[in-house]
């Protein structure tokens, strides 16, 4: 018998009130604005909605956003796996420093995550003149947008993996090595399968954030339409042009992405849970 209190049914007026208050608050603060996006996008009819996607700048923004995510997410997944592995399975000097550094982007305004790259690579930055002489463009171009996005999304995969890997310990890896497995085989056949749901979960979150990032990218992109505007920046540009249908249509893409991510995340959690219970029933 488990002594921990299990959630009960709602049975008193007070608990009913609290639950209702929470639901109303969420509806006002999240539900209503989200609905507005779709309503506004469709306000001039479906044809106007479809028309707004004929804008070549919108397509350029979508392509750029997908490209940025396609590069930033795998890089951060690889880094997250490596960082979580070293933090969870080894003791070394500077471990807590590494942990703090991984968390830093979460507690820092994204604008700063963009600005630091300007300070390093911008025209007046440390390497600016050198890069200019070599004809390499980082700021106000794809590399800059990538750097900003990667910096902002660095913690998302690592954070998912560290607690799980720490809990699992390194014994299974040691067992694999004594059984003759090399490092790569151990990673592929033992380590990654053991954390696969958490890894997917982290990748999803990382992807959503990479596609939706505004602050850091806004500093680094230079807002060149059809060239360096990602989807969130494009939404802002359309809005400033008073093209509300266009802006909300593009925004509905981003909102749709958020909803798909959420559904996928929930499904993943269910899958993970059902595997866990299957594995735990004697």
């Amino acid at each position: 018998m488990n002594l921990t209190a299990q959630p009960r049914r709602i049975d008193s007026p007070l608990s009913l009130l609290l639950v209702a208050a929470a639901l109303i608050w969420l509806a006002l603060i999240i539900g209503a604005p989200l609905a507005t996006v779709f309503v506004e996008a469709a306000s001039k009819g479906v044809s106007a909605f479809a028309e707004s996607f004929k804008n070549p700048d919108t397509w350029a923004a979508i392509r750029l956003t997908l490209l940025v995510a396609a590069i930033a997410v795998p890089l951060n997944a690889a880094f997250g796996l490596a960082a979580a592995w070293s933090i969870a399975k080894f003791n070394f000097r500077g471990k807590s420093l590494l942990l703090t550094l991984i968390d830093l982007p979460l507690s820092m305004s994204p604008v700063i995550s963009g600005l630091v790259w300007v300070l390093v690579f911008g025209a007046r930055g440390w390497f600016g003149p050198m890069l200019e002489a070599g004809g390499v463009k980082i700021i106000f171009a794809l590399p800059g947008i990538l750097l900003g996005t990667i910096l902002v999304t660095v913690p998302l995969v690592a954070r998912e993996l560290i607690p799980l890997m720490a809990e699992q310990g390194a014994d299974e890896e040691l067992a694999a090595v004594t059984l003759g497995a090399g490092g790569w085989t151990t990673l592929r056949r033992v380590t990654i399968p053991n954390v696969r749901w958490a890894l997917l979960h982290g990748v999803l979150l990382c992807n959503a954030r990479a596609m939706g990032e505004f602050g850091a990218v806004s500093v680094l992109s230079g807002h060149i339409r059809g060239l360096t505007n990602t989807l969130p920046l494009h939404v802002e540009a359309l809005y400033n042009d008073y093209d509300f249908v266009g802006a909300f249509a593009a925004a509905s893409l981003l909102a749709g992405l958020a909803i798909v991510t959420l559904i996928a995340k929930t499904l993943l959690e269910r899958l993970g849970v059902s595997e866990h219970t299957r594995a735990n029933e004697a």
């Binding site: 014994d171 090595v177 090399g182 004697a282």
Partner: protein, 366 residues
């Protein structure tokens, strides 16, 4: 395959984990490394497995330099304390792992791997569990899978780290016999780490008793029982009665009785005498020789009774008597105590009063 361990030193920071450990194991021998926690037994096992590098010393298996090889190259079967089964693989996949990960050139065929897995499932008596996941198994079954997985690669050496630690007593005894049977069937040189002296004595061809990073004694269970090399060995291997004594010429003189001294220490002097409850006798007749004691309690079932008694000095003793002899005594009665043989510890100062004396005779002080 003979194993030679020669002068191993290993230090963790300022803690000396192994201080010049040397031993040899014969081909197919079953050794147990026994000792209290911190005695270095697990460190020695990790050195043999290749998970720790010693600071000094050499290890040879079959004439090859073991320390020059990585953990991966050594072909050592290692069974972890918590088994470390691959949680996302079935039992069959777990056992097959060591064969599956071989480079293509040396990897057996699928059919050969399957045959080997079936053979090991049968050897470990877990046939029919091949499709289960580790979390669906009992502790004892997991243990069997771990041993089968380690044996799959036909290891040159099988190492087990406290393999029964997480199991309850009944399963533990059953698996102990199973492990010995599997060892005898597989014929692999085996080294098992444990802190449980009963387990070590029951399983091993020879026991390696360790203390503070050194080997106190290596010998068959009988040798350790009969000729303990040191008071530490004597105390570690079983229940011990303690009383001050004076030893000279191979005889330990206690208050009220004497007993032949055990061990190789031939020095004379005052020390702490140690003797087993099973070597302790009680005689009810008041004219008998021995230390006068008062019987405090009698416990135990079956063929053996444990009789707790106390001397006037405050020292407490336990005597283990067969049921028919114990019937002559009852709690609160008096008797004379003698010991059949005793080990004498000359190196540790003997307290003037027994430890028990500080608790028992409060009335006398008041």
């Amino acid at each position: 395959m003979p194993l030679t361990v020669d002068g191993i030193f290993k230090q963790f920071g300022r803690f000396p984990a192994l201080v010049g450990v040397s031993l040899e194991a014969r081909d197919g021998e079953f050794l147990t490394l026994l000792g209290p926690s911190g005695s270095g037994k697990t460190t020695l096992l990790r050195v043999l497995a290749g998970l720790d590098k010693p600071d000094h010393g050499r290890v040879y298996l079959n004439g090859t330099d073991f320390l020059a090889q990585s953990a991966r190259e050594r072909r050592v079967g290692l069974v972890f304390q918590q088994y470390a089964l691959f949680r996302h693989m079935t039992v069959a996949k777990n056992i097959a792992f060591g064969l599956d990960v071989r480079p293509r050139a040396t990897r057996p065929s699928r059919a050969a791997i399957k045959a080997r897995v079936d053979e090991l499932l049968a050897l470990a008596r877990i046939d029919g569990l091949g499709g289960r996941y580790p979390a669906q198994l009992s502790g004892g079954q997991r243990q069997r899978v771990a041993v089968a997985r380690a044996l799959a690669v036909e290891p040159q050496l099988l190492l087990l780290d406290e393999p029964f630690g997480a199991l309850d007593t009944k399963v533990r005894k059953e698996l102990r016999a199973e492990l010995r049977r599997i060892h005898d069937a597989a014929g692999v040189t085996t080294i098992l780490v444990t802190h449980d002296q009963e387990e070590a004595m029951a399983l091993a061809d020879r026991v390696v008793l360790m203390n503070k990073g050194r080997i106190e004694q290596i010998g068959t269970p009988e040798e350790l029982e009969r000729e303990p090399a040191s008071p530490f060995v004597f105390e570690f291997l079983g229940e011990t009665n303690r009383a001050p004594c004076e030893v000279a010429g191979g005889v330990a003189r206690f208050e009220g009785f004497s007993a032949p001294a055990m061990g190789a220490d031939r020095r004379a002097g005052k020390g702490m005498g140690l003797f087993r409850p099973s070597d302790t006798f009680l005689d009810a007749s008041p004219s008998a020789e021995g230390l006068p004691v008062r019987l405090v309690s009698i416990s135990g079932r079956g063929a053996v009774r444990l009789i707790e008694c106390q001397a006037l000095s405050g020292h407490r003793f336990t005597a283990e008597l067969p049921e028919h002899l114990a019937a002559a005594f009852e709690a609160g009665g008096r008797a004379r105590l003698t010991a059949r043989r005793a080990m004498v510890d000359l190196d540790h100062p003997v307290p003037d009063k027994a430890e028990a004396a500080t608790v028992a005779p409060l009335r006398e002080r008041a």
